[in-house]
């Protein structure tokens, strides 16, 4: 590692995680812009990453719906959703990332492709992966007695700035 290398700094204000859920009546997104990240770098390559977001930080534009999510995800007792990488493999602009996702108190291994883009002085890491609610012991929320789909899509966009 170069003596003069300084790891990029994480830009929380420009980063976000968004979930998408579907119900028979409508589809909606909830976004958190309070995503905490700790990372380890090797030159300009991300080597390890841990991500934490509070359940209460996700905003779908409807506080009653967000409140329902708090109940369903038991956020009073399990306030955080976390991801810790166990393997990051580079293949050109794509990065195969494997890690442990802890959601609703259940930890499972997930794997997804991250696309890395360098724009000006910034690194942008984007990707998405599906989460099956029932596999994390989440009771699917219902509206008018109709439950949401079991699959929830997670999309993330993390920004790091070179010093």
């Amino acid at each position: 590692m170069s003596v003069f290398f300084q790891a990029p700094t994480y830009e929380q204000a420009s980063s976000s995680i968004t979930y998408t859920m579907k119900h028979k009546l409508h589809t909606w997104d909830g976004t958190s812009k309070q995503v905490n990240v700790a990372s380890k770098w090797n030159e300009d390559k991300l080597e390890q990453i841990s991500v934490l977001a509070k359940v209460s930080s996700f905003n779908s534009g409807l506080s009653s719906r967000d409140s329902h999510m708090i109940e369903v995800l038991d956020a009073l007792a399990i306030p955080n959703i976390t991801f810790s990488s166990t393997s990051i493999k580079y293949n050109g602009a794509e990065i195969l990332t494997t890690g442990k996702l802890q959601f609703h108190g259940v930890t499972k291994e997930v794997q997804f492709i991250v696309r890395a883009k360098k724009e000006n002085n910034q690194w942008l890491y984007e990707g998405e992966f599906p989460v099956l609610l029932e596999s994390f012991n989440v009771e699917r929320p219902s509206l008018l007695f109709v439950k949401t789909d079991n699959s929830m899509n997670i999309k993330f966009s993390l920004v790091f700035k070179n010093k």
């Binding site: 009546l25 409508h26 905490n36 990240v37 700790a38 990372s39 380890k40 390890q48 990453i49 841990s50 991500v51 934490l52 509070k54 359940v55 209460s56 905003n59 534009g61 409807l62 506080s63 009653s64 967000d66 409140s67 329902h68 708090i70 109940e71 038991d74 956020a75 009073l76 007792a77 306030p79 955080n80 976390t82 810790s84 990488s85 166990t86 890690g99 509206l143 008018l144 007695f145």
Partner: protein, 216 residues
């Protein structure tokens, strides 16, 4: 031959042990990265207390000085708030059931009422009884909404479907009150019949709209 086999076995085992030893620090480092983030995040304190803004009907029961302020034993604030939110969920499910039953009752009343207005006075008692049932289910629906524990937070800044749902309640409640008052006046003043019907239609239309806006 024996020495070569032993050498390869030893080399392979050393390689395996080496891999395991290298993997452990990697996992430990990732876990330590996560620990850096976890230190201040054990409980989300913003969720333990109910929101500052709540309906006065909710405050009467569930507020800091509400009638149910000593509803649970023990000082576990997290467990207490979890119980509140479970009660809220149950009451809102009953509110949804009550809403559907009320709407169905209003449709029935519309059909019976129209027969009554055509001159079939035999069904007057039926109309009054169904009216009483609709009033009861409407009251049950309203109570479950107005007196449920407050939600986790209030942060809507613009017009939302739930806000419209609540504003329409003003309209259908007014319509229900007017329909019932006019119903008691009709026997003495038959000219009030069209107004009674109009008030009933407004109640039905606003209740149906309140149900539909939830979709969005």
């Amino acid at each position: 031959m024996y020495l070569r086999t032993t050498f390869y076995k030893t080399y392979f085992l050393s390689f395996l042990v080496g891999c395991l030893l290298c993997a452990q620090p990697l996992v430990a480092q990732t876990d330590s990265l996560l620990q850096q983030l976890m230190n201040d995040n054990k409980v989300d304190s913003s969720l333990i207390q109910p929101p500052a803004k709540m309906l006065f009907t909710q405050r009467i029961l569930w507020g800091t000085n509400g009638l149910l302020k000593n509803r649970y034993s023990g000082n576990d604030l997290v467990a207490n708030r979890q119980k509140d939110l479970k009660i809220r969920r149950t009451m809102l499910k009953l509110h949804q059931i009550g809403g559907f039953v009320t709407l169905g009752g209003m449709v029935a009343q519309g059909i019976i009422g129209s027969q009554l207005y055509k001159g079939d006075y035999k069904i007057k008692d039926l109309h009054e009884n169904v009216g009483m049932a609709v009033n009861l289910s409407y009251g049950f629906t309203a109570i479950n909404a107005l007196f449920s524990p407050p939600s986790a937070f209030h942060r809507d800044k613009k017009i939302t479907s739930i806000r419209l749902h609540k504003w329409l309640a003003v309209l259908h409640l007014s319509g229900m009150i007017a329909t019932n008052i006019l119903a008691t006046q009709i026997e003495d003043n038959a000219s009030l019949k069209p107004y009674h019907r109009a008030a009933a239609y407004v109640s039905f239309a606003s209740l149906a709209t309140a149900l539909i806006v939830i979709k969005f």
